[in-house]
Amino acid sequence: MSQDTEDRPEKGPENDELEFSIARSNALIPLLLLFGLSILGIVLIIVRAKPIESSEGATARQAFGPADFPGIFQQPPLEPLVAAPVADAGGHADVLFPVPAPPFSEGIFPCSTCHADITPNPERRELAMHEDIVLHHDEEHRWCLDCHDQNDRDHLRLASGAAIPFTESYRLCGQCHGTQYRDWREGIHGKRTGRWDGAKRYLLCVHCHNPHSPRFAALQPLPPPVRPQFLHPEDAAAGRTDAARRQDGDGEHGH
C-alpha cells in the first residue's frame, strides 16, 4: 500500500491530486510514509529471507539412498562364528581368540620365502624392499625388528623374546596398548559382528589399523540428509522421483 503511494508521484498526471495533498500536508505524512515503508521492508525481509545455511549450503538438497552406494555394503567375506575364546593349549596366553587371517598383501607371506636367505640387519635405514610401508607408529623409537622376529620372519616377537604367530598379533599390540587390549577382549574396543546372544566374529587389530601407521585414514562421508525445504512430498505422492525432478531442471526449487 505505502509502496504504491510512493511510486505514484513519478507515474503521471492522474497522481497530481495526491501529490498536491502531500505537498499541502504537514510533516506527519512523510513520517507516516517512512514508517509504512520501513514496516514493508521488515515484512519483506522476513518473507524473502533465505533459510539459514552453513557454508556448505549447496549440499543437502538431493535425496540419496543406499542404492547410490552399493560399495559400502560389500563386507569382506565372513569368518566362521566362534562361541567363545578358547584356552591356549601352549600356555602362552590366557585365552586365544579365533580370528580371520591377517590382511597380508598379496603374495607377501610367508616372509621366509625371501628372508630365509637374507642376513638380518637391525639398522635403521632406507629399505630397498617394502618401500610401500611408511612407518608412522612411534617411528622415533621403533624399527622393524622390535615387532618382527629377527630369526624367524614368519613370526612376531614379544618384548619377552617369545615368538608368536601373526594370528595372535593382538598380544603384541597389547604390550603397549593395554587398555585397548583389555577393552578389545571384552568386546568394547573394535568391531564385533555375529550374534549379540552368542557366537561372534572377532577381528585382529590389524584388520582395522595398519600396524605401520595405525591412525585411521579420513573417509569421505556419505551425503547429508535433505534439508526440509528441499523435500518434495507432493512430488513423491504423484510418483515423481528425485531423478525425474532433476531432469525437469527445478533442482533449485525453494530459491
Partner: protein, 299 residues
Amino acid sequence: MANTGTDDGVSRRDFLTAVGLAAAGVLAGCSPEVREAYLQKHFLELTPEEVQHRLARLRADCRKQFGRDVSISAVPARPDVMFGYALDLSRCIGCRRCVYACVKENNQSRDPQIQWIRVLEMEKEHGIDLERANPYYDPEKVPDVDHFYVPVACQQCRNPQCTTVCPVGATWQEPDGIVVIDYDWCIGCRYCMAACPYGARHFNWGEPHLPPEELNPDLHVLGNRPRPTGVVEKCTFCIQRVRTGRYPACVEICPVGARKFGNLLDPESEIARILKEKRVFVLKSELNTEPKFYYFYGV
C-alpha cells in the same frame, strides 16, 4: 413420527438407527480386507491366531504393492532380555555409513527421504551442545578438524514420553525395552513427535516411495515393514534382527566399531561391561526419560 410425540418428522432414535444401518450396509458392501482393516483390534489384544491372520494380510499387501514375496514375523520379546546400546564418541568419525545401512535395512521411504539416524557434527571447542549441532555437514573427508560427531536415533527411553501422549495407544514399550509403533493403529496426530526430546520420530507426510528391488523382505510387523502415508516411524533397534539374535544393521556396518549393542541384563554382554567399566552419559538426562542408548568415550 407419531410414536415420539414430536412433530419434527424424524425421531432421534429413528435417525440413529438409520445411520447405524447405513454404516453397517457400507461396511458389508466393502471388500473383506477393508472391512477387516476398519474393524481390527489393537495389536496387543490379538490372539496368536489373529496375529497370524494379520501377518498373512500384510504379506498379501506387500505382494500386491511390491510384487515380491516377503516374510513378516511377529517374534515376541524374549524373557530376561533388556536391550541397550552404547556408542563410542571417541571412535565415531561421522561417515554416515550407519544412516544408509539403516535405510536399507528398515525400508524407509527413499523419496520423500526419511532417515532414522541423524549424525550431528559438533565443535570440540564447545563440547556436547545440541544448539550448535550441524546435521548437514559435508566436508571432503571426515573426521573434520576440531569437530566430533554424535549420531542420534531413538534413545529407547525407559520412561518414554512418546508413548504416554499417544491418544490411541499405537506406540508402546515392549518387554525387552524396544519402543514400537503399530502402523495399523497410528492415526498420524504426531503428538509423539512433539513429545520426543530427541527428534527421533519421523512422519510419512507423502506417499513413501520405495523401489521394489530395494525392499528388504525380512520384515517384522512392529518394525521395518513398509509404512503407509500418514504414520509415524522410528528406530526399533532393528527389531526384526535383534529378536532373532542378530546385531542391528548400524552395528554391523560401522567401520570403526563405535557401535555396541547387547542385553543389559547379561553381565557378560558388551553393553553391560561398558556400563560397568566406562563413564557413560545419555542425552538430555535432566528430562528423566532414562534412555537405554548410552554414549561413552572409549579411550
